[in-house]
Symmetry: C2
Subunit: 143 residues, 2 copies
DNA sequence: TCAGTCGTAACCATAGTTGTTACAGCTACT
DNA sequence: AGTAGCTGTAACAACTATGGTTACGACTGA
């Protein structure tokens, strides 16, 4: 499985913005966030654009521009972030339709789909149990 | 996330071998399985090679060669198959180490790792709850 | 000996992710 | 007005994972 870090980086960016705002700043720039994440500002802007479409952040343009949270850290769960940045499911069915003449080929699709539904539900339940406020608290606790 | 069908195809192949053996045949060939899955025999052999390393199937070479289950369908869970064919975790941490001078950059790695551990545990618990015997039963029920 | 199959290497195509450069558009500030 | 600074997005390259295909040596029952 292609392990991807989109959820990690998105959570990092949002947590960073939250802490920065808590310290009295109105907006955070993609360059500041990129420095903390250790990546390119465009990567951050691309990710924040998806989070913006999902209603998790707002952006301000022009001079003094930047990003701000659309709601508090306590009101954003990792599931919200996951939904915003992960396009597809973890597991997929066959790429090409299996042989419909074969009993297994004909029937296994729905069976696996049901299993994958349960897996996704469990995964989402876990992610829903952690808010970015929890993340920030644990981050500060470890410092 | 790159949705992959390795788990689906592996479960399909094993279930097919199990049913084929139950009908009185000793071994199944990669070509027969590939026909049911609707893919190339080499894809099946590559996947079964991984399942063989994991001790789920055995192969016989020479004339009359093919594949057979190493143990019954009821003794193989989807978690066993998942472990055999999925190399890495679902989520990854940062590709490049975040800024250690930043509180968030320094502390968020372990926090996210803990969350991902819980997610993987939940995912594995779900997969462990279904055996290939369950899969075959549901496949036959739907027919 | 030979036919059939495994085991595996090699190569290509496709797709997703990440990093990078570039540039148009917007707006507070001077 | 003009400008500086940042967003928003396109374009491209590099890398990785997956899947499809061809090829061929290795093995073994008949």
């Amino acid at each position: 499985m292609s392990a991807n870090s989109r959820l990690t980086v998105a959570a990092h960016a949002l947590t960073w913005i939250g802490l920065y705002q808590r310290r009295g700043h109105e907006v955070a720039t993609s360059e500041q966030i990129a420095t903390s994440v250790n990546t390119n500002p465009v990567v951050i802007r691309r990710l924040l654009a998806e989070l913006s479409k999902a209603g998790l952040v707002d952006s301000r343009r022009g001079a003094g521009a930047g990003w701000m949270l659309a709601r508090g850290l306590a009101a954003i769960t990792l599931l919200d972030v996951y939904r915003a940045v992960e396009p597809g499911p973890v597991f997929a069915l066959h790429r090409a339709t299996p042989d419909p003449e074969c009993v297994v080929g004909h029937g296994i699709g729905p069976v696996m789909a049901a299993v994958y539904d349960d897996v996704e539900t469990a995964l989402r339940r876990e992610l829903a149990g952690t808010t970015l406020e929890d993340v920030l608290r644990d981050v500060l606790k470890a410092a």
